[in-house]
Amino acid sequence: MRIPHLLRLFFVSCIFLLVDFSLSVAQEDLSKSWFNLHRVNMLIFLVFFFAVIIYFIERAKRGKSLFIRRIAGLDAIEEAVGRATEMGKPVLFISGIEDVDQIQTVAAMIILGNVAKMVAGYDTPLLVPICQPFVVPVAEERVKEGYASAGKPEAYNRDNVRYISSEQFAYAAGVNGIMLRERPAANLMFGSFYAESLVMAETGFSTGAIQVAGTANIHQLPFFVVACDYTIIGEELFATSAYLSKEPKLLGSLKGSDLVKAIIIGFLTLGAVLETFGITHFTRWFFIE
């Protein structure tokens, strides 16, 4: 029987932890162990979470249809690109100010690939100002792939993926400059944003561009809601990237996280009911030192 690599890795890790824990018990010094008994609940939760996600990824890989509801913001992206094409103006894609190790930037890169494919089909220029150096090669790859998959690799212009600055407000100032001077007709802002969100969204609004934004940084969402035409809220950002890419890994993780959410809803309801009746054991299980 063929055992999947991930399962093998899991078994090896379990054996390693077990040996390490047994040695620590034998030496009567648990502080040296890699296994922290106070965080068993975290381990159980993570193992369960990964198992569910791997299960759904495998299902998606086998071609099973996984339903995801349509997200309103997705139509807005197409509408924005269409408008820019009609006006003969560029599309501006801003991928946030965090590095590529942040999951929101990864989601933004996936959306960028799809936007690149879309604009390549319409021969619309795509401008991508970047804040973090490490994001530049990833963005270049995504845009290049997008143009190639639209059958127009020659239309890719490397100079349109530009590093601006790693400093938050210098980046915002640079992006504002692009908005004011190159006058993109569509501003797409996806990724992790902080205090610069309103500065950029407000400038984009003043130039009359159609704006679609999405972030999981809850403190910045209010600014996008007031200054943009469409806002993709929180986890919708990840769902958008999964929906657009149709990538089994992303679809599977989205379905998996939906199931985990359903379980969380169940735990939450049960916990609140038990707490109301003064039973606190269940809640205490979720406590982490």
């Binding site: 609940n41 975290m42 939760f45 993570l46 339903f67 995801i68 509801r69 997200i71 590095d99 590529v100 190790d101 942040q102 999951i103 990864v106 490490f134 090669p137 990833v138 270049e140 600055s165 790693s166 400093e167 407000f169 210098a170 980046y171 100032a173 640079g174 504002n176 400059g177 004011l180 809850i218 403190h219 969402l221 209010p222 600014f223 809601v225 007031v226 809220i233 929180g234 986890e235 919708e236 769902a239 379905k255 939906d258 959410k261 359903a262 969380i264 809803i265 735990f267 939450l268 309801t269 916990g271 609140a272 707490e275 109301t276 003064g278 269940f282 809640t283 979720f286 406590f287 982490i288």
Partner: protein, 212 residues
């Protein structure tokens, strides 16, 4: 007050006014300040990373402590520069993959702990209709549940699910409204701070001119 401080503060004031001139419209003064901040920050970060990254984390351990294994991440870093060579640019993917893999691996349990389990534990509250706290708790629990339903992508927002999702989005919007107000207040305080700076500059100049 020494001359250098006066020159520095005057420059800061001029640049502040250059940026504020954007409120009228895009103009050469704003463009100058914008290009200056972008250029200076790029140069500043390059030097900063050299002195806070390369020197203490690569150069010093390798040359002073013989911890040669610090060369390995440095090699990964150098590999990213192959982006400039068309033929060898594929090598940079190894560095990016390594960086992303490590980052995701580290952040996964931390996010699960901070954003899921702790939040879950903090929301399991006793709900009573007999006292005000119990009613607030009920609102919190219901708000979180409806918010979670809104972010459920496997079902269409119709019927009961649709109703709960609508409540969820209302709760989110109320939260956004409160967040917006709070942040605007913070921004106003930043503006007040800048105006205070201008006032202090004015007083400083008057004092310098009158010798008072």
């Amino acid at each position: 007050m020494d001359l250098l401080t006066i020159i520095g503060n005057t420059l800061a004031l001029i640049l502040t006014l250059c940026i504020f001139s954007f409120l009228y419209k895009d103009n050469p003064f704003y463009k100058f300040a914008e290009h200056l901040v972008v250029g200076v920050s790029a140069g500043y970060f390059a030097v900063l990373i050299y002195f806070t990254g390369f020197i203490p984390k690569v150069w010093d351990p390798v040359t002073k402590k013989n911890e040669w294994w610090y060369i390995l991440p440095a090699i990964l870093g150098i590999m990213t520069w192959t982006r400039f060579l068309k033929k060898w640019s594929w090598i940079s993917r190894f560095s990016i993959a390594f960086y992303m893999g490590i980052a995701v691996g580290v952040s996964m349990p931390l996010d699960m702990q901070g954003r899921v389990i702790r939040q879950l534990s903090a929301t399991m509250l006793p709900v009573h209709l007999m006292n005000l706290q119990g009613i607030w708790n009920l609102l919190i629990v219901l708000g979180v549940l409806c918010g979670l339903v809104y972010f459920f992508f496997s079902l269409e927002h119709k019927g009961v699910v649709g109703g709960a999702a609508s409540v969820g989005i209302w709760i989110l919007m109320i939260g956004f409204g409160a967040g917006f107000g709070l942040t605007v207040m913070g921004r106003v305080s930043l503006l007040a701070d800048r105006i205070q700076f201008m006032r202090e500059w004015y007083l400083m100049v008057i004092k310098g001119v009158t010798g008072g």
